[in-house]
Symmetry: C2
Subunit: 372 residues, 2 copies
Amino acid sequence: MPLTAKSLDAKTEKREVEESVQVVSIGSITLESGAILPEVDVVVETVGTLSTRTNNAVLVCHALTGDARAVGDMGNQGWWRGLIHSGGYVNTEEWFVITMNVLGGCSGTTGPTSINPETGEAYRSSFPYVSVRDMVHVQKRCLEILGIDSLHGIIGGSMGGMLVLEWGLLYPECVGRIIPIATASSLTPTAIAYNDIGRQAIVSDPAFKEGEYDANCPPVKGLAIARMMGMVTYRTNSLFEKRFSRALQEGIEENPSDSVFQIESYLRYQGKKLAERFDANSYLTLLKAMDTHDIGRGRGGVKAALAQLRCPILVIGIQEDILFPIHQQREIYKLVQHRDENQLLEVSSEYGHDAFLLEFDEIGPAIQKFLS
Amino acid sequence: MPLTAKSLDAKTEKREVEESVQVVSIGSITLESGAILPEVDVVVETVGTLSTRTNNAVLVCHALTGDARAVGDMGNQGWWRGLIHSGGYVNTEEWFVITMNVLGGCSGTTGPTSINPETGEAYRSSFPYVSVRDMVHVQKRCLEILGIDSLHGIIGGSMGGMLVLEWGLLYPECVGRIIPIATASSLTPTAIAYNDIGRQAIVSDPAFKEGEYDANCPPVKGLAIARMMGMVTYRTNSLFEKRFSRALQEGIEENPSDSVFQIESYLRYQGKKLAERFDANSYLTLLKAMDTHDIGRGRGGVKAALAQLRCPILVIGIQEDILFPIHQQREIYKLVQHRDENQLLEVSSEYGHDAFLLEFDEIGPAIQKFLS
């Protein structure tokens, strides 16, 4: 019997692997800076079944505004569901996929919106500086509590890719293979500049109140501008040309000074949308973690650090990426210890940086093959 | 006697052609929108001597934050003095160089900070929308009053290049030859997006007060962010790598969360500096003029408009320019009526867009030759 759309749906439905989301308390941690967070919770999504030999775990690391819902469920699909699902490029019938919201985030893991047990109030601006390495240490502790001692693979894009590289250097004995995507050993000065434009927009918003804003009255305008800044660097002009060109938003073309281009209304909408769901202090915490991240710190520089990386690596870069330029991906590939399994995949996409969140058929097959 | 440094200085001093700055009242003008400005003043710098046959006038058009002081004097050098001076690539002993602050500007020509004669108060937010074509019409009227009926050449970069192209289309009978540099027939959606990030930063600043701010209490924070946004697009990452790399500003490295990268302090300083000298309403007026500028409007599109351009043209583009990408310069060159004298000069510079303000030895010889 040929498969109809309906029977295919039914089949997919039946095969669907259930997502589980839990909060794991990992107790107190001491940060790289020496600051101590007395109680840290980590929100974790797991999809699939951990094999009895616990050798099929794949860790996923999210980007700046991502969260632990990489896969999600049918009703609320995660940000990487196109890549990871039952029968997908990362097949959840084969792999036990774990995603955690990072330390300093605002989607369930301890961060600036969490209650400081010592004061009974939200940390807000008193939340300490956290590094990408701190984020990785927290993930490691969480995995230990979950009884997972080794990871078959680790995969992540953008800020997530920074965690992926750090995992390979901080816990080489636990890591099978890694897939950093559209990321960097350290940010370019231009990327730091983009981040600072967003930062200045947030801290200049009078609603920010030096980070002591009320949760009901957050600095949405500043955060929206920061997101607009981000969005322009996540995409490309070719895409904007194709989608919007110089078209005006309908209905307000009477007076040229009131004219709004579609690209403008699109970005303003994206800014507003993020500002409604994301915490500004958390955004600042993660920006600073990215800016200050340098895998070469304390390891004799980037070159020496990458030479220490021993596990097989699949580096994926996007040629049109203006935030994490392709030369940074080539550098990572070139400087790690040579292994026949290592691979550099260069994808061309008018989505630019965001291709790692959208171009599943471009990046998926290589990921599938490299994991298997 | 061989020339010593001193005698050379003395010689230069002697040869120096004096700058003259004057304000020309051109009366009332009706804008493209139909709005009327009852009294318009234009500040004009002239350097050199107008020939008796009045056939040696060269008009210079400035960019977004430029002004009429293109040449300036020895004590206060203008923004294009490296190109234009006695004995320079644009030789003020040969050419009579005229530069005007544009309509809507804030450096002497009528704009939002000017007094509206009908109210006795500054226009501020009530200053009407002006187009690039309006700016050109005002320049034309001003030149008529100065007794200059024809221009040997017109030269300008960035927004100035938009005026240059419009001159060639609006007043072909008055224009000898034109040199648009690092400019566009119309902005890309990405350039519009960059402008809107700056715009949102300005209008979100509470000091902006919907444009009705007091001159003593302007929205400096918002304007500074807009300038930071601009600066990143005016330069290149290669330049930032070379100048700042990931170096931290000295003296504040104790706590990573307080760390400020040199690229950040540089941009913040540039932002602050512009905010102290430029008017926010004027900035918004000029951004909107640029966004809405389209040489194809009312002329059957860009292709048809460029095909109408009859005068010889030297198009100069910078390969690393991310704001006015090189493909826009190539398009202009390709679509204008073919003439043997036409030329496309592609310059490679790590200054990116700002090369037109800095790389005089790269762009100067071609300009000199094309004008002669």
